[in-house]
């Protein structure tokens, strides 16, 4: 019988929630890595028992954890003690070193600081881990300050795909309120050379050659909070999503505006439609209906909570513009939580499950594509990320 495994990253540890296909009775495991910020936990599509986790701390920096048994046990790749005293330790799984210019040996570029001055790149943490669609030992990491790294040895070592930072627009990138983070990585299942990423606050980018070269894909975005609202660079993209059957169709929750592209990001159009507010962080796509999408509207950039204290998921069955509120089982009074950008996911059971986590520590599940909701847990630390594995 199928089951689902929900991987939850929080401010104070990771949790693994499992249930059978009915998604009614849940087993809660955790906290794993108690006390650490767990930005993201995600499983390999090739081997569901292979999990990768980003463990971070303001004191101790970045750690990458890996599990080969679905989260029962964990290891730091390459972090084991050396058998021979005095031999060089191999642990480099948390070593994220930015490339330098091959010609000068100097930093590849600088970026724009909050005050408009140029600032050097400084590694802070891994926001998002995206395992390869074809190889369990290959995984991508989106980091702050924004860059994309790749490991092909199960996260033992990392190499930057520096064509992204180095393609020319780097000096115009600037941090959003949460830092200058590369938070979204979408791998095209039909074309292994194509990857989409998004950065706050730079925008969305695409490579068509496996990460060697990149181009901004922000045409059609309009951001009135930057000096040039239609600039090529500088848009605060909060999240992007796609359905694997139509990898050229992208959906975006921007700082303000819900957007859609039908040509792999070459042009975007707004599909906010009748949403009560088009500010928000998450966006996701139904597992079996590529035109059914979900957002959680948040009141504004200054008030990061639902409007009127009512937690409502909005669903569009038309790929945007026409939205319906989904409220059954969600608090409809005095609710002032936020839903962060990586904290929504879907399962692929016949009746698509939709999941999201809140900064109030709730993780909600809808086993019927959003029609009704119930909390799986309601007192976790603030939820940073939610991923779901459907295990046959």
């Amino acid at each position: 019988m199928s089951k689902v495994r929900v991987l939850v990253g929080t401010r104070k540890g990771a949790f693994i929630l499992t249930a059978d296909g009915k998604r009614e009775k849940w087993d809660v495991s955790g906290p794993h890595f108690a006390g650490w910020e767990m930005y993201h936990v995600k499983g390999s599509p090739v081997d569901p028992n292979r999990l990768y986790a980003s463990q971070t701390s303001g004191w101790f920096g970045q750690v990458i954890q890996r599990s080969s048994d679905g989260g029962k046990t964990w290891e730091t790749p390459g972090g084991e003690a050396m058998p021979t005293p005095g031999s060089m330790p191999a642990g480099a799984s948390n070593k994220f070193v930015y490339d330098v210019s091959p010609s000068t040996g100097k930093p590849l570029t600088t970026h724009q600081w909050y005050d408009g001055t140029q600032h050097p790149w400084e590694f802070k943490r891994v926001w998002h881990l995206e395992p390869s669609l074809t190889d369990a030992d290959t995984v991508y990491a989106g980091v702050e300050d924004a860059a994309l790294f790749k490991s092909t040895d199960g996260a033992k070592s990392w190499q930057e795909l520096s064509g992204l930072r180095g393609h020319g627009t780097g000096p115009k990138w600037q941090p959003g309120a949460g830092g200058m983070c590369l938070h979204s990585i979408l791998l095209d299942p039909s074309n292994p050379q194509r990857i989409y990423i998004a950065i706050s606050a730079a925008g969305a980018f695409r490579t068509d050659d496996g990460g060697k070269t990149w181009k901004p894909i922000n045409q059609g975005l309009k951001s009135t909070y930057i000096p040039d609202p239609t600039a090529e660079i500088g848009h605060c993209v909060h999240h992007i999503a796609m359905h694997p059957s139509r990898p050229g169709v992208l959906f975006m929750q921007k700082h303000w505006d819900v957007m859609r592209s039908d040509n792999a990001g070459d042009m975007w159009r707004e599909v906010s439609g009748n949403l009560p507010t088009d500010f928000g962080f998450v966006i996701d796509v139904h597992a079996h209906e590529p035109e059914t999408i979900y957002v959680v509207p948040i009141k504004s950039d200054g008030e990061h909570f639902p409007m009127d204290g009512k937690l409502r998921v909005y669903r569009s069955r038309t790929g945007g513009n026409e939205w319906e509120p989904l409220t059954k089982g969600l608090p409809q009074s005095d609710c002032y939580v936020n839903v962060l950008r990586d904290a929504m996911a879907v399962d692929s059971l016949d009746s698509c499950g939709v999941y999201f986590g809140t900064t109030g520590g709730q993780v909600y599940c809808s086993p019927n594509a959003g029609d009704t909701w119930a909390p799986i847990v309601h007192d976790l630390p603030a939820v940073l990320s939610v991923e779901v594995q459907t295990i046959q």
């Binding site: 006390g35 004191w59 972090g79 005095g86 330790p89 642990g91």
Partner: protein, 98 residues
């Protein structure tokens, strides 16, 4: 053997309880003790000092024999009592929050 006291989160990460003991060839300095610690527990690389620059992470401090060694050059010899193993070398997380 030099006794090293780690912050609780790093003890968990290194899967050790209490103090750890490291063997240092030659003079015991900040650098040689941290080198030995990272060689024995590679998972700690990057969590106490930067991978590349080897600079102390900003929210960590080093103490020994009630002396603050955090800002001392890396080749500063540690006190004799630490080198003999009768006093520990302490790695402490800066206090934050209420």
């Amino acid at each position: 053997m030099i006794q090293v006291i780690l912050p609780a989160h790093l003890r968990t990460l290194a899967r050790v309880d209490g103090e750890v003991a490291v063997n240092v060839e030659g003079q015991a300095t900040l650098r040689s003790v941290l080198d030995a610690l990272e060689a024995q527990y590679p998972v700690l690389r990057g969590t106490i000092r930067d991978h590349v620059t080897l600079q102390r992470r900003p929210f960590l401090r080093f103490f020994a024999c009630q002396e603050d060694l955090s800002l001392e050059p890396p080749d500063t010899p540690l006190p004799d009592a630490v080198a003999r193993g009768s006093e520990p070398f302490m790695i402490i997380g800066a206090i934050a929050g209420g």
